[in-house]
Amino acid sequence: MNKYSPFLLLGLLALLPFVGLSSYMMHILILFLMWSVIGIAWNLLSGYCGQVSFGHAAFFGIGAYTAGIFYAKVGISAWWGMPLSIIASTIAALVIGYICLRLRGPFFALATLAMGMILKVIAENLTDFTGGDIGIMLQQRTWVDKTGYYYIILAIAAISFFVVKKIVESKLGYYFVAIREDQDAAESLGINTTLYKTIALCISAVITGIAGAFYMNYMGYIDPKVVFALHDISIITIMVVMVGGVATYWGPVVGSLIMVMLAELIRSIPKLGEAHHTFFGVLLILIIIFMPNGIVGDFRKFAKFFGVRRAQR
């Protein structure tokens, strides 16, 4: 991966709609980019800063519901949800961070898991506000054609990728990794660990929230079971980054591509129903045992396994 490869890939993806892909293919590409965004966000908090979150659906849902509620109650376009979700996600991150960030390691993970579940229950029961289980539906989506959505999520993905890359290479990045490696050592080196963990959480939450707001606009329908889902959002977020490679720039992108294609493949198997979660479980176990650093992190192992010979750099 050289310096120009992100731009090359971006240019390639920007030209892709001109090939004349089917609506289904465009849908897959949009999902791939959306999951990349969520993966990039999770990777910053959990991969680089080491605060493993099992509740990223919380921020995804908050973003989606910000767009949905302002559309349904205030009557403005659901696209306003994108800028507004920045504010909503930041507030949510500050509250959740205040509660959860004093905990370390697995305890933080469990607390975020609980936060995701709590928000789901709240969204289900605040029926006047969220519509409860009926959810929120857009009367009319902005475009029938998918190209517009594609370029919007491509822009979001590109911005998130470069912003996170910039952050990781800066002072913030060093501080995040220092906190991940040893919080006590970081603290004694003059790093305000509480502050920097909160910053990581806020940035991660904002990016995830924007993805959520996009989801509302794109799908045109949300309900608590979809956007606050534990296994379909929070766990898949972790899977995306684990498969691709934790704490690597390209990990979330590669992971998202594989996970989205895999999900579509598995869904096409008849009579499987809910059992498709099993596949993800097995995959996660295999990844943890054989490629703990993901495909990007353990690329050499991966290449060797498939008999690919790679020229020496």
């Binding site: 490696e181 603290e187 080196l189 003059g190 790093i191």
Partner: protein, 240 residues
């Protein structure tokens, strides 16, 4: 004037008094050694000074201002850095990145931080190992990495917690040299050490703790003849 004043510090964990009523002070530019048998409360005292613990009683003054009760990062910002007895390298980072991470405390951009870090690594003799992932570093170098990381925060005073324990003789001499060089830079040092060779060759004064209490204070020569200290280390002599 004293740089650091430890005033009547007591630290209790439940019913256990790890440190009780310990007082001493350190003048600018000196090396003070803190010694005592295992479990005497030396590291606990460090953790109090460094801000990990809030003392049960007493206070710590640094440059005339109270620092006890502040968070460790605030204390480090004020120019008081420490190393850990059980080394805590940032494992999956290279040696250089370890030091850059701490150099950012005083640097505004990555170039400045890298410059400080490289200078510190040369000073501590780790420059050749700068690209090694610190997980793979042998213990002697990890101990020096601890010192390098603390130095990169550009402190006025350094707390060294057994930075020479477990080193082989040549590493030991190297570490002694580095500690002396640090003192020559005008950095005040408080050091915990068991190694008598190190203590006797570098320290200006020694404070002895036993069961959490200060039992003696003085120059190396005074301490080595102090009856209480000998008893604490070797046990009481049988009365004739």
């Amino acid at each position: 004037m004293s740089l650091l004043e430890v005033k009547n510090i007591s630290m209790h964990f439940g019913g256990l008094a790890a440190v009780s009523n310990a007082s001493f002070d350190i003048k600018k530019g000196e090396i003070l050694a803190l010694i005592g048998p295992n479990g005497a409360g030396k590291t606990t005292l460090f953790n109090v000074i460094n801000g990990f613990y809030n003392p049960t009683k007493g206070e710590v003054l640094y440059k005339g201002k109270r620092i006890s009760g502040l968070k460790p990062h605030k204390i480090c910002e004020r120019g008081l850095a420490r190393t850990f007895q059980i080394v805590k390298p940032l494992q999956r980072m290279s040696v250089l990145d370890n030091v850059i991470a701490s150099a950012f405390l005083r640097a505004n951009n990555k170039n400045d931080a890298t410059a400080i870090a490289e200078e510190t690594l040369r000073f501590t003799g780790l420059y050749e190992d700068r690209d090694v992932i610190s997980k793979g570093l042998p213990l002697g170098k990890r101990k020096r990495l601890e010192i390098a990381r603390a130095l990169a925060t550009q402190p006025d005073m350094l707390l060294l917690d057994e930075s020479c324990a477990g080193l082989n003789p040549s590493e030991l001499n190297q570490s002694i040299d580095i500690i002396k060089k640090i003192r020559d830079r005008g950095i005040t040092i408080l050091i915990i050490e068991h190694h008598m060779k190190v203590i006797m060759s570098i320290s200006d004064r020694i404070v002895v703790l036993s069961y959490g209490e200060k039992i003696a204070e003085g120059t190396p020569a005074e301490i080595s003849n102090n009856q209480l200290v000998i008893e604490a280390y070797l046990g009481e002599a049988h009365s004739a």
